[in-house]
């Protein structure tokens, strides 16, 4: 049947997975068997294939963000428990053998990427289709979160394999168990993200938007329309929290140093990744 053959060709061109294509064609074959006259009402094969790609691509992008959250939540929880237990047992958690740069960077990147991906997916939750640019932003944010998760995983494995002699004996098996959970959940999220990268919406619709559109009314009026001022304010708030944490931990100088480093990292990230991540236009 020409209609189904043409539709299959269009679906292949839009990278609709083979299993999904077979299902679509079987359903439409049944539809046309019920009513052969319906071929005119189904629309042009190209239009129908694009509609499938747009709607399924939108769902895939959203699901990737949710899958990342579902991956990072148990991993992050176990990670938190691991280091809380170490602290409670009186061991130093600032030992660079245990918490190297990969863990410090990775946890922050994972948090920022995961939060931004979920924020955008939540904002677009009611949309049946989103534009190619908007879906790309969700995918890139999700990918960033996964990179952060992978860095954290690598850092934990390195910390466990260093096996510092002054740390409790239970640290190594618990760290490996945490890493194993991370490996499984992050792999599952990666599979979902790869699917989202394959099946993408094609609609040219609205532009990617920015952080202000994500946060909506949470952005004070004085910061609206000025993305750099908004970024500076957020970096300042992050720095303030870190500096206060330093004061609480009776190490204000270290707290201030870390606050300044984090604020600088925030702004550098915003300058470099702001556009691809849909934080500024």
């Amino acid at each position: 049947m020409t209609f189904l053959t043409d539709l299959d060709t269009e679906l292949v061109g839009l990278h609709v997975p083979a299993g999904r294509r077979r299902r679509i064609l079987a359903e439409l074959e049944d539809h046309l068997a019920c009513d052969p006259e319906a071929v005119g009402r189904l629309g042009e094969p190209k239009l129908l294939a694009t509609r499938f790609a747009d709607e399924l691509g939108t769902a895939c992008a959203r699901r990737a963000a949710v899958a990342l959250f579902a991956a990072l939540a148990p991993f992050g929880l176990l990670f938190g428990v691991l280091f809380a237990l170490l602290g409670a047992a009186g061991f130093s958690t600032s030992d660079p053998n245990l918490v190297g740069p990969a863990v410090i960077l990775g946890t922050q990147i994972a948090f920022v990427g995961g939060a931004l991906a979920l924020l955008r997916a939540w904002r677009l939750r009611q949309e049946t289709t989103v534009s190619a640019a908007q879906a790309a932003v969700v995918r890139r944010r999700t990918a960033l979160g996964l990179v952060g998760g992978a860095l954290t995983f690598a850092g934990i494995v390195t910390g466990a394999s260093n096996n510092p002699p002054h740390v409790a004996t239970w640290f190594e098996p618990l760290a490996y168990a945490t890493a194993a959970v991370g490996a499984v959940t992050l792999t599952a999220a990666t599979v979902v993200l790869v699917r989202a990268y394959r099946l993408r919406p094609t609609s040219q619709g609205p532009a990617a938007g920015d952080l202000e559109s994500d946060l909506g009314l949470l952005v004070p009026a004085s910061l609206r329309g000025n993305p750099w001022r908004l970024a500076f304010t957020i970096a300042g708030l992050v720095a303030l929290c870190i500096a206060l944490a330093g004061v609480i931990q009776s190490d204000p100088f270290d707290g201030v140093a870390r606050a300044l480093a984090d604020a600088a990292a925030c702004m550098a990230g915003y300058a470099v990744l702001g556009r691809p991540l849909g934080l500024r236009r």
């Binding site: 679509i24 509609r51 499938f52 399924l56 769902a59 895939c60 959203r62 699901r63």
Partner: protein, 104 residues
């Protein structure tokens, strides 16, 4: 009726049709036509992508069924889908009352 007007309500109407029991795509379209007295003669190509998306969002579930010698994908409402249907109904009632009070 203009398909643009229908677009925002298609999901809710599909969920409402499936509330009464599982059905395959063609039956969903026929039921939509029948229950609207022919008013919703929507482009049939819009329903299948919506069914697939609603399933991807967890609002529908589907299985293959053998009927009249052909394979058919039969859709049913999930618990989440039922919740979404209730929310869509409440939203529509609020909206239609507001429009009615302005137009009346």
């Amino acid at each position: 009726m203009a398909s643009e007007l229908l677009k925002g309500h298609l999901d809710g109407m599909i969920l409402a049709v499936l509330q009464h029991g599982p059905a395959h795509g063609y039956a969903v379209i026929e039921e939509l036509k029948q229950r609207s007295g022919g008013t919703f003669a929507l482009p049939e190509g819009t329903v299948y992508p919506a069914l697939h998306r609603l399933e991807a969002d967890g609002l529908l579930a589907s299985v293959w069924a053998e009927g009249t010698g052909r394979k058919r994908r039969v859709y049913r409402l999930t618990r989440r889908g039922r919740g979404k249907l209730d929310a869509s109904r409440a939203e529509w009632r609020l909206f239609s009352r507001a429009v009615e009070s302005v137009l009346a």
